[in-house]
Symmetry: D2
Subunit: 337 residues, 4 copies
């Protein structure tokens, strides 16, 4: 069987690099095009790709991509730019996995409230599928446009799903205290990501207004069948990659640790990338993998959940390939183990 011909939009950032590395190991995918404003050889942008991928970046041109026989496009553009480029691709019958936030929030007004800009493609938003395979797996398989989930939201949504699905916690007052490596901030140099600023330091940011909040609430409300509210506090940690979310929720009734863990094991029984741990995971346990590790414990009247992932693999490019596998009918693990 011929490998599926794929293209990547926006090749200069970290999610594109991670995606390339994963796809190079994927027996069913061939990278035939990468777009970038910088039309350099991909190994000039990412020196680690020397001798691994011999491709020069090309300007974005939907006709050219179609002519190159591209079947699936991965979007690694910033939000805002994504909704400019994706409509012409869908029109030409290409399928798209978009790693930006443009198609994640079903409600246009919520998007506009949190992203402070007009949504310019409500038509495709209407049929986009939120690409969290463990929750929306069946819909992903039939999708033309997959809105790949955010890095933080996956830890929060998967960390809380079993509890909310089984009504074991109150849907209000949930606290999500997240810690992320710096690569989550992207590859554009900024003072707060300048090495001597963020090394040897920890700080919180985006308190009360981080854009992943409505994304978390949308999925959790789906799962709970009732509106869910969260207080989400992200922190910047001096490491390259990894997200650890420490989550605090109020149980609806008494529950034991063993029962809790069993609830989680059962809920995720068929999910190859979810590991229910007996000890609190370190982000390093998941580094460079598509695993998302979850630990749960009742403590002092609360239920505490810890979820760990690699923000670039599981949190972005790995789950994108997991979605690709579902979309194309590959085994979900292809290229990811």
């Amino acid at each position: 069987m011929q490998p599926v011909r794929v293209a990547i939009l926006g090749g200069s950032g970290y999610t594109a690099l991670e995606l390339i590395k994963i796809l190079l190991r994927h027996p069913g995918a061939a990278i035939v095009a990468i777009t970038s404003r910088q039309q350099e050889h991909i190994a000039e942008l990412h020196p680690s790709l020397h001798h691994r991928l011999d491709l020069r970046c090309q300007p974005f041109d939907p006709d050219a991509l179609q002519a190159q026989g591209v079947e699936v496009v991965f979007g690694c553009l910033p939000h805002g730019a994504s909704m400019e480029c994706i409509p012409p691709l869908l029109e030409r019958g290409l399928r798209v996995i978009d790693l930006s936030a443009d198609y994640r929030l079903r409600d246009v007004s919520v998007y506009e409230q949190w992203y402070h800009e007009k949504h310019r493609d409500p038509q495709n938003l209407a049929h986009a599928v939120y690409g969290l395979p463990e929750i929306y797996g069946a819909a992903i398989e039939r999708a033309r446009l997959v809105a790949n989930p955010g890095c933080y939201p996956q830890t929060a949504i998967l960390g809380l799903a079993p509890l909310l699905a089984h009504h074991r916690i109150e849907p209000a007052g949930i606290i999500i205290d997240s810690k992320s490596g710096v690569s989550g901030g992207g590859r554009t140099p900024k003072l707060n990501f300048h090495f001597p600023e963020c090394n040897e330091s920890v700080c919180a940011y985006g308190i009360g207004h981080h854009r992943h909040t409505p994304e978390i609430e949308q999925a959790l409300s789906d799962i709970a069948g009732t509106p869910v509210n969260v207080l989400f506090t992200p922190h910047l940690i001096p490491m390259d990659r990894g997200i650890l979310s420490t989550i605090y929720a109020t149980p609806t009734g008494p529950i034991q640790e063993a029962e809790l863990r069993e609830l989680y094991r059962h809920y995720f029984a068929r999910q190859p990338f979810i590991r229910i741990r007996n000890q609190p995971p370190a982000t390093k346990d998941t580094a460079f993998t598509n695993f998302l590790d979850i630990y749960v414990q009742p403590v002092r009247g609360k239920i505490l959940v810890i979820a760990a992932e690699d923000n670039l693999v599981r949190g972005a490019s790995g789950v994108a390939v997991q979605n690709f596998n579902r979309l194309l009918g590959f085994d979900e693990r292809t290229g990811l183990v």
Copy 2:
């Protein structure tokens, strides 16, 4: 005026090193003795002290310390060892600032429950003063034995004090999510502090049973005048030093951000080392200083407090010198700015 003659017990660890560096700049203190099982020159134990302190470590001997004219002793021993060494010093009339946990918990049974060992000096425990100057300042001035506070507890106690003193938050359901640099774990090599294990990684530890919990609750209950319960989750962060505590509490009634911040500014108006910040602090803002920075914001039905400090200075040796200054009648800031 002659400088006060001081001794340090347990010279090989990080708090001792930090204490030495601070005291070398203190015009009113002279380090005349350092004890250690390793009877080496202090600069052999801590190479950064070459040409700065010419002193060989000596075995612990209370008579020798008395004969050397020592007036104040800083204890940098592990808990358990402290309560063995401190009684003979107090008997000989020396004053002691103990950086271990042995004299922090007033209730012997609480100590024994959390530290899993018998308290062997209840007599001195009875008159020990908890050395958090911003809260117990007057008592410290008259103390013979100061129990220097833990690193995490200071961020939690000072971060919540204004709210609890003014009954602006519920005394239950308080969540303290803390992030600490690795030096907080001490200088003894262990796998979880081995560089390739904890670098590039974040994890929680001691969930529900970290020994700083009762210390936090004791002080907060004093301040509130009613029992306070907290859920405290410490995390290990890949950096040398710094603690950031993100604290979530439930307000007793509506309160605005400006009012909150004013409440804090007023509460700490006379405290030279507390800075009420308008932006969330980074631990680096406090690195190598005795400042404790606090940020407070109402968010999504909760009050969120962030408190940052240097765990070795403010969290241990700096506050010990602040206590020393109060004990001896120096300006509180001496040697610390």
Copy 3:
């Protein structure tokens, strides 16, 4: 075709972990046994292996390994221990790739001089092949015992091979200034690898007596056909992995940059894992890969060579699999790209 049944001796360290991760992706190898003094499940020793390898460590027993059908054994034991365990395996007809230093130095007296202990298996040493595929490729294919090369030596040997093979530099006065991440020091907690000691710091160690010196000189002398002497200075860098060697040599005559680079490209033309770079490589360009990147430039009367690698992959477990591939007749790149 059935995958080759392999065993790993000494499963608790970093090279074993890295080897396991590589072999799990290798279509021609099946890990059937891992030995360790700690007879725990491998995922207890290495939490990242949960759901990836379901194997309990077993005590070392050559008969058991033979009975399990093991064909190739990877030794991840410390030097000294290796030469105890390997003879009985070879006797039973198993082939061995030993990652320790025990079989690297052909001359027993050199081993004993640098390792300060008696060599207890000179018989097998006599037929062991030094496992640097780019230099000793043909011999590796016929070997029963491969002495996998050290991490530093590979950067030095491959970095200098083209120059010495073509007599373009003097064989004396070569300076190798190497910088290594901390994982190179192993997984046993020690003060100099304790996070707060080695983080935010750089230092040299083993000056003039590091044991990789004779290993470098042995291979370089083979290549040059004349004795080569080097001054090798390793440094510890605050990062998990990566080695960068900056090498200074004296040219035997004038040579231009372009000619130099062409010499390197030609010398390594058939080597899939050597990349001759036009810019000085960063260790990160090679992280988690088996590539060794080389840069060469004439500068101020010297020839400067920079060689970068991942010390755990290329420097240890990756090259071990490369050797395995040669030994078993697989494509050299299998499992490594």
Copy 4:
């Protein structure tokens, strides 16, 4: 006695921040003005200065500085900008300690060759004194304009001074392999200082054309009384601060380790900030201090020197204050221990 009124030009960078912190502890200096294009409160630019310095940055205006009674100006501007601002200050009789490179190279043509720009103030260059106190101490005391030395050059110059002064090494073929923390690159965000690029990585840069080369050679030639040539290779290390230079030189004749070390001890006998170490220093031993630690050892036909310093204190702002102390007649150590 009134403290000396000082101003700082260019308050937004790391050397200015470090200088402010040192001067705040200096009993003989009062910071009365800080200039910056960003006319914000200094604590807005550097949050660590909250409650420590209450000063708003002002635009550069030599008349205003004079009117404010400023006596000494520290220049923390980039090279090029310095030589624009300094002439009008000298004209008004202010003394200047310039931390840029503009006045370090006596020979205008050398400056223009290495900095690729015209020198626009040769007149003041003619009387500027190179501010390395251990070498040019007497001249500094009489200077009107001190050219504060570069960070790397200090390790190289002081590391080699005793050997060259006593003709114990050849003046040619000297190799200086230096490793620096990232703060040495300044505070302007750039891709190569972006956390996820330089963390977990080491690389060389500026090979053969780093601008500190002629500065090193100028001072070493002064000391040797003959032209000295060096090959200087800087490397970027994932840490905030610290420089370690590993230096290789060829001895002019046989010399023993003890004699070497004695030579160094004697040469620097009166220098309070030079520590001759018996063990290779780690940069951390010197962190946040003005000490420069030197280790020397004969090895394999070469003399190896290791010199370690904090690049922001000893390498820039600390030595600037040391120069200030000499200029003003204070004890050299004032504010620095």
